[in-house]
Symmetry: C2
Subunit: 225 residues, 2 copies
Amino acid sequence: MADPAPLDFFTVVDTQRAIRRFRPDLVPDDALRRVLEAATRAPSARGAEPWFFVVARDAALRARIAAAYRRAWEAARTVTAQADLDADLKDRPHYARMMRGVDALARQLATVPVLIACCLDHRQLGPIAGPDGTLRSPCAAYASIFPAVQNLLLAARALGLGTTLTTLHRGVEDELAAALAIPPGVEVAALVPLGYPADHFGPTRRKSLDAVAFLDGWGRPLPRR
Amino acid sequence: MADPAPLDFFTVVDTQRAIRRFRPDLVPDDALRRVLEAATRAPSARGAEPWFFVVARDAALRARIAAAYRRAWEAARTVTAQADLDADLKDRPHYARMMRGVDALARQLATVPVLIACCLDHRQLGPIAGPDGTLRSPCAAYASIFPAVQNLLLAARALGLGTTLTTLHRGVEDELAAALAIPPGVEVAALVPLGYPADHFGPTRRKSLDAVAFLDGWGRPLPRR
């Protein structure tokens, strides 16, 4: 696939959205390296760069991860439905479509050409984690991995590749760690599928800026354009 | 200040770095809205968009926040030095310069033209938080705010504005919440100063990609370029 023309930053950020349906086309090595390299440009607490990215491209490995992921999804869906855990937002316009996409992804995960386990190494967090790896400041810890994950999602979009940030694997994290030989003390914070999209990129719909951003105190309006 | 020419995505991501020294020039309203709007383009668990951004631009308010921040920094610096908490990385090339920058920022925070409290609303996290707001999955919770923070940092860079992701305010979070009238149940996950840089943008230096990214299992090399 020919390289697309470079996209300006705001086109990328405004049209990046969760892609949950993928074409089977392979992801070129250069593109894979470029999105991972972008991830490593992110900030981290103490400049420690406490991240690792474990890419699954082997078909048998992806099938093993996908089987575990699907069980995690089925369990989460059952609990969510039984206890009505999404009651607060299931009437919002995005919800039904999002849930169909999440279900489609869980069923098809083995066919996505690349899966990326985005890992946070608790052993490199210094005072943010205790000697046993327990997080003393989960906020500062995850502030050292999710900016990198977001860079990865945006860089993929810039190259015409789709992704979505998932944390469902946490129901089956031991199996995922075993499949990828991830050592103790290293947490998989996100599992990101990567491939050319069968869905469309944005623009995304969001709450209005004035509903979520304030000036000089809670509830006080921002200056208008 | 005239709008700079649009930057392509990879120029932005490769040159975004922590800026800790700022010029006093005002941040135009349009630029402020644009970086906040970029923040809201990020993904969030369940598509809940559980974020708020409270901007401090009023000089007295910034001075109040800066005084609390500086106390948090002095306390953190003392503890870190006494217990040698950065022993694992204080010999790395970036460390001394980073610490000088952090100290300079803490001393000068009141003079930075804009401070942005990036907030995570625990009341909008559904099953990710308990009824009392305690986080059941800190990972999924912070996965719903730090991608937005990273979008903000990158968008600022795209407009020629500097930022740095700080979490030091957590030592004085009650004071910060009082200053900005942030309601109970809403956590300030990051405090981001925003202004035209007196430091230079990157390119940033990072560990080599091959040291932190693997293919088909931990420790197995990525394909080379």
